[in-house]
Amino acid sequence: MTRFVERHPAWALIIIIAVAVALWLIFAVWPPGLEEAIGRKRVFLNALFNGITLGGLYFLVASGFTLIFGLMRNVNLAHGSLYLFGGYVGYAISASTGSWILSFIVAFILTALVGVLLQLLVFRRMEGQDLRQTMVTIGLSIVFADLMLWACGGDFYQVQTPNWLIGPIELPLITAVKSSGEPVYLRYPLVRLVIFLASVIIGIAMWLALNRTRIGMIIRAGVDDRDILAATGVRIQIVFVLVFALGAGLAGIAGVVGGTFQSLSPGEDIRFLLASLVVVIVGGMGSIPGAALGALIIGLAEQLGSVYIPTYAIVVTFLIMVLVLALRPQGLLARR
């Protein structure tokens, strides 16, 4: 931190000012002039929170994607299909048992199993052949999409939100002051906050597992140099299967999350594959903190864009990607 300030004093100043402005925008009661210029504070705060919570969902999908890429150098373009599959499984479980929590567990296990099968039956047979793997995963994603269309139809599915999560809660953030002097607090959907918290916990747990445990050490060593790691006697194939299972399972969990606060239908697989590609390109291929930062940036850009420049909202995401590719092609937080 202090090293960063010493090395880039100008950047540090800009960042500090930006953080201060953001904090002021969030906590202060807006003066009328500002409300006239950029709209009500409620809208801004909602867009901000939505961006952050949407970023949480993107992180869940993209972290698995980036983990698999980081270790195996394998661009798994069937990742979106795993997302959708997890969502459908979650829907089936929550519809038949009524338990939201159980649907996460089953979705994680089943998609992780699909991931294991993919690794054992497909990727292991073409190790180190990037192009072949990529083509095969494209093919698989098309096959999976049609199989799911056949099984589930084109209908929209929504995973039922449990009753205790329906409706908004009041946050201690003042959006406006009524003429009587009484403050109006921000009301925000509870389910989105819970999902965001869950993704933060998963992110921290993953970071801890990678940086503080033995298996994490092995995975990090594998990311740096797979061949040397194998030469030291680690059974690398087992590590591959484990990582693939974890990455796929995370996509499955993300599917249930997406099915809860959005909906599941054919085409969602491609959308989330694209989103996680963009997130990972912005954040840096193979980096978990990069996926978190990229997800946050893309989520915020989508939501703030949809409120303040609705016409060009779609372009903003890709503009960010283009900028990152132009200025820092390895991604914002890539290690190499």
């Binding site: 599915y157 909906s263 939501q303 779609i314």
Partner: protein, 416 residues
């Protein structure tokens, strides 16, 4: 052995195709949105089309109709690609296409490059398709989005006493046309439309859009369809939204009213207008509903046909009946067939339909309210039936032309 059996297969397939050629076929290409946001709409459209074939049969004189179905995703380029494929690869002679608004404008323009063929609009409802520079070989037997809103603005103002409303709609031609019809009538009656929000087709996260909805309005009009509508309702419920709602023609439709989950319950009591009403007493409509229900098992269809099924049914009806009038004669660049199509008057399930000089339907419109049937299924109940709605919505054509074409900001909220 292998060679022998291969030869046998080749021979028998030759024989089979030989017998098939003995009977002359008329090839018809059909497109529907079987991918993307509007998948459910496309699927039900195809159900309506099949119901029509069940009722009418596939024979025209001694010729047999053969259908090729192609899939689109509601974007104009996907529709043109599908239509081009049907014409160039499958050699179809008649097209039943497309489903969605922007697709309609693109296919109409494409139709001009094939003046020898006949294009029958399947369900698309943008105003521009037949109002601006219409193609002489493009026929539309459903009303456009603005016609489908006739009656709604007045009913909301007079009966519900709404004075100020805001709209949220998908950012493309059909919804522009729907909002056009609503605003024209609501503002004409004296109401105010304070805010019009547009979201891209295929938006998933509506939370910020919902937060930006104004509080100081009597009702919020939703011009959404397919997955977008379901997502909106789901997130609206999570945000604790309580406003009165009004709905467009594909919002208050079985495609949404029978979606899974309970978010749709926010729609009970919602006022809407469309080219059909689920609970209409008319015997023709009731017969159509029964035909539709009999044609598919309950888990493969909606409780009652959606607007898309009705439109595809009506278009298919026009296609087959006009073809029978000319006894399948498609000679001379299909001129006899086109003349028959322009003249035909349909006794469609949703009321009588005839075409105007631009080959655009004049038909019946319905103002509806969403009711719960007591068993958890939602239906649109008729509150008002308005016959003979034309494309200029009863305005003098010169006055109507001055209003301008539907867009994000047209028409202005005033009396024309």
């Amino acid at each position: 052995m292998l060679k022998g059996s291969l030869g046998l297969i080749a021979l028998s397939s030759l024989l089979l195709s030989g017998t098939a050629f003995a009977q002359e076929k008329i090839k018809v290409g059909v497109t529907a949105t079987l991918e993307g946001t509007y998948t459910v709409l496309g699927e039900d459209g195809i159900r309506g089309f099949q119901t029509a074939l069940n009722v009418l049969g596939k024979k025209v004189g001694d010729k047999e109709l053969e259908f090729v179905i192609a899939s689109t995703d509601a974007t104009p380029d996907s529709a043109v690609r599908a239509v081009r494929k049907l014409i160039e690869q499958d050699k179809v002679q008649i097209l039943l296409s497309p489903l969605s608004g922007d697709e309609g404008i693109a296919v109409k323009n494409f139709a001009k490059t094939h003046p020898e063929l006949t294009f029958i609009n399947a369900a698309s409802g943008a105003q521009e398709t037949t109002y601006v520079d219409p193609a002489p070989n493009f026929f539309r037997y459903n009303m456009d989005g603005a016609q489908w809103q006739v009656g709604l603005g007045k009913y909301a103002y007079d009966e519900k006493k709404y004075r100020k409303i805001a709209t949220v709609g998908e950012d493309y031609s059909f919804i522009y046309t729907q909002v056009f019809g609503l605003v024209l009538e609501f503002c004409g009656a004296g109401g105010q439309v304070t805010n019009r929000q547009w979201v891209p087709l295929g938006t998933k996260d509506f939370a910020s859009v919902i937060a930006a909805l104004p509080d100081d309005v009597d009702a919020i009009y939703l011009g959404l369809g397919g997955a977008d509508a379901v997502n909106f309702l789901n997130q609206y419920q999570q945000a604790g939204g309580k406003a009165h709602l009004m709905g467009g023609s594909i919002m208050i439709d079985q495609t949404i009213l029978s979606s899974k989950g309970n978010a749709k319950n926010a729609l009970v009591g919602t006022l809407a207008a469309s080219g059909q009403a689920d609970t209409w007493e008319d015997p023709g409509w009731q017969k159509f509903v029964k035909d539709y229900q009999d044609a598919f098992p309950p888990n493969k269809r909606f409780p009652s046909p959606s607007l898309l099924a009705t439109n595809y049914y009506g278009s298919t009806m026009a296609l087959v009946l006009a073809l029978r009038q000319v006894n399948g004669d498609l000679s001379d660049n299909q001129s006899k067939y086109k003349a028959a199509l322009a003249k035909i008057e349909l006794d469609a399930p949703n009321g009588k339909i005839k075409l105007d000089a631009n080959r655009q339907a004049i038909g019946t419109n319905f103002v509806t309210e969403v009711v719960d049937d007591g068993k958890g299924a939602l239906f649109s109940k008729v509150v008002k039936v308005i016959p003979n709605v034309n494309q200029t919505l009863g305005y003098d054509p010169a006055v109507f032309a001055k209003i301008g074409l539907p867009s994000r900001t047209v028409p202005e909220c005033k009396k024309y």
